[in-house]
Symmetry: C2
């Protein structure tokens, strides 16, 4: 490390300055990963004004991008005054896979599969006992034939309910036992030919694609109640432009990517704040967006009988127990701020935040454009960087009201202001 | 906020304990977002042993998931001893879109488009001047007709080189000017019919889908040089199993999602550490994974003439100037650790990390399975949570060598150990 930095001592002091003062706390943080040398601080903000299924929420958001938290709270407030956000859990099924190669007649394997299934369930009884008590467990086991795509390839595809946990460890432990049990079953089957007694386990792992672990969040109101928008835009023009913008995200993948990226700005911020895994949520959501063969918007809009309706349907496999949810001190606080929700309630909150975020972004795009707001924030960041005083900041802001903000432009102007004073 | 917490004072003390001791530093962090009440600390680790294009790197990684940094460095070391990771920049083109509705004959619009294009370039000259000096700027402007999918819908699709910046602000500012110029052009065109003088700008924004801003990272070696693997697996068996595992991620979207999630474990960790936007990188990469109509693996493997080859091709729109890259104190340090790379060099490092991560994950899956390593880390986290002493930890670890790790199981066993001592 020393060889990579010009002033290793200064760097070390800075790295240490980001440690938590309490050594035990820091030890917990360090334990989450490996080779840790410091903490990377992410802004921890809150978005008030959320009313989800008639309950008020103040949503914790961890995000380093400007305007996201402000946009989410502003959209939440807008809809708070119009009945709030309604959500619905469509399903909570998680998926796991055992991929294996077997040299035999496909129909013989399918013929034995009822007995194999019994064995898999029996052999994992001790692993599933506690989850069963909590109301979860294995909910289905299927055998899939992939031999048309790859020689001798089959898959055991199992589905699970994992209650309030995301379930990765639970599912992976069961799948690895499935593999062992499958091996034993085949070895112990006297009716099988020799080559049928062997099975090559390629791998066992949960799938992050959970199209049946899905939540829907929706807002709606009569068009007239949408009110007026910037640039003297009336509610009907707004509603139609908004609907067109969402439609474009359905027909053009180039637009869909950015549109969904905005949804994930909101979603990931809550996922991170609650100690869940945003890579899992992202991978799942985007695969879902491409499920019909073209990558499309995750949100939808329609206008029928004078009612403007905007909704989001997205798979979200998250937990409120296990993983980092209770281990990360800030994640624990986030869950407390949300009233220690169940996993399903957290799915609702996350989807509602994604929807609010998307509403705010599209609203901004079809009215004022996004540069106005972004540039204001950008200017604020640059001013902070140069330690501008309040007076200097005022002068710079005035100058850049009608001038495009750039780092060098602000620096040059600030230099001039400082020389003149 | 107070109403959401049971002990607001304790919570406040904890939130404050995560602030940076230096008020000015904290002000900078707070300025990145809105309604900030604390910092959310993410583990900041380093993965040594990377040799990319014959240059050694120590890669900064910000990630809260266990085993990721360890896996990346171990894979990097494995390939360091086999020639390192080779990369190639395939393209650096960014995309922006102006979506608009126009009521006229499509061919009349296309007929005028050369003149419109001239006008767009002319009107944005002051915005592009500096980027042109740095070797970037607008590199193409196209008119697209979407009227078969949505009445009167057209698009100006522009492409850009943005040098070492990610370019969002640059592109969005230009696109909003394009919209203004298009409006003016049509109003000022005397040959147009009245209804053709009007244009409805739906929205102007960059696209996060940048399939032509792509990097490729590759490792390869003779199969014999792969060595032996856990469980006495020889190199040929390993190579074939590995190839099958990657193939499964090409034919089954359920597997592809998880496979690519593993790639993004590595990618996002570097993206975050360098102050780039992981939502943008995720959205782009996953859309790219679905570009042929089925969601597939981003990495590829083949075995030809005794050579094992494993590579990743992924679009990455990142920057090393602008945005938070220099504003976030830790991001600045990450870039310093990487030798203050250009955006292209950073693309190479990120792709190499994603490839290393994926190699480690698939290697683990096809050899020992992932639960063994995960459970070890999981146990470590649980022990930290219960403030276990070294002696207690030893006893617990011994007990759980052949027992499935669970939070309640560890708690119960630890209680017993403590009662007995």
């Amino acid at each position: 490390m020393e060889t990579f930095f010009k002033n290793p001592e200064t760097v070390m002091r800075e790295l240490v300055s980001y440690w938590h003062d309490n050594e035990d706390q820091q030890k917990i943080l360090d334990g989450f990963s490996e080779n840790t040398i410091s903490n990377f601080p992410m802004p921890y903000g809150v978005a008030p004004n959320f009313v989800i299924d008639n309950r008020p929420y103040c949503v914790p958001m961890v995000i380093e991008e400007s305007s996201v938290v402000a946009a989410a709270s502003s959209a939440a407030k807008f809809w708070m005054q119009r009945g709030g956000i309604k959500t619905e859990i469509v399903g909570v099924k998680k998926i796991g896979q055992v991929h294996f190669k077997w040299k035999g007649e496909s129909n013989r394997l399918f013929g034995m599969f009822d007995r194999i299934q019994e064995r898999l369930i029996q052999d994992t009884a001790s692993l599933t006992e506690k989850m069963n008590q909590r109301g979860g467990g294995i909910v289905g086991i299927e055998l899939l034939d992939f031999t048309d795509l790859e020689e001798n390839l089959y898959q055991i595809k199992a589905s699970f309910h994992t209650c309030d946990s995301m379930g990765a460890n639970f599912i992976n432990s069961i799948l690895e036992q499935f593999a062992e049990s499958l091996k034993s079953f085949l070895i112990e089957s006297p009716s099988l030919k020799e080559e049928e007694r062997d099975v090559l386990i390629v791998m066992c792992i949960l799938s992050n694609f959970t199209p049946e672990c899905t939540v829907r969040a929706e807002v709606s109101c009569p068009i007239d109640e949408l009110g007026m928008f910037p640039g003297k835009m009336d509610s009907k023009t707004f509603a139609e432009k908004f609907e067109t913008a969402v439609k474009i995200a359905h027909i053009d993948p180039y637009r869909a990517t950015t549109h969904n990226k905005g949804i994930f700005n909101g979603i990931d911020a809550v996922v991170l704040a609650t100690g869940n895994d945003f890579r899992a949520v992202e991978a799942c959501g985007h695969t879902y967006a491409a499920r019909d063969g073209q990558y499309r918007s995750l949100s939808h809009c329609d206008i029928k009988h004078g009612i403007f309706r905007f909704w989001l349907e997205i798979p979200l496999a998250v937990g409120t127990v296990g993983g980092l949810t209770k281990l990360h001190p800030m994640a624990r606080r986030s869950l407390e701020l949300l009233g220690n929700p169940s996993a399903e309630e957290l799915m609702r909150v996350i989807a509602a935040t994604g929807l609010a975020q998307n509403f705010a972004a599209v609203k901004s795009l079809v009215t004022t454009g996004i540069q106005k707001g972004h540039m204001k924030m950008h200017l604020k960041n640059i001013l902070a960087q140069f330690n501008a005083t309040k007076e200097e900041a005022e002068k710079v802001k005035k100058h850049f009201e009608n001038v495009v903000v750039s780092y060098s432009g602000v620096r040059d102007f600030l230099d001039k202001v400082r020389l003149e004073s």
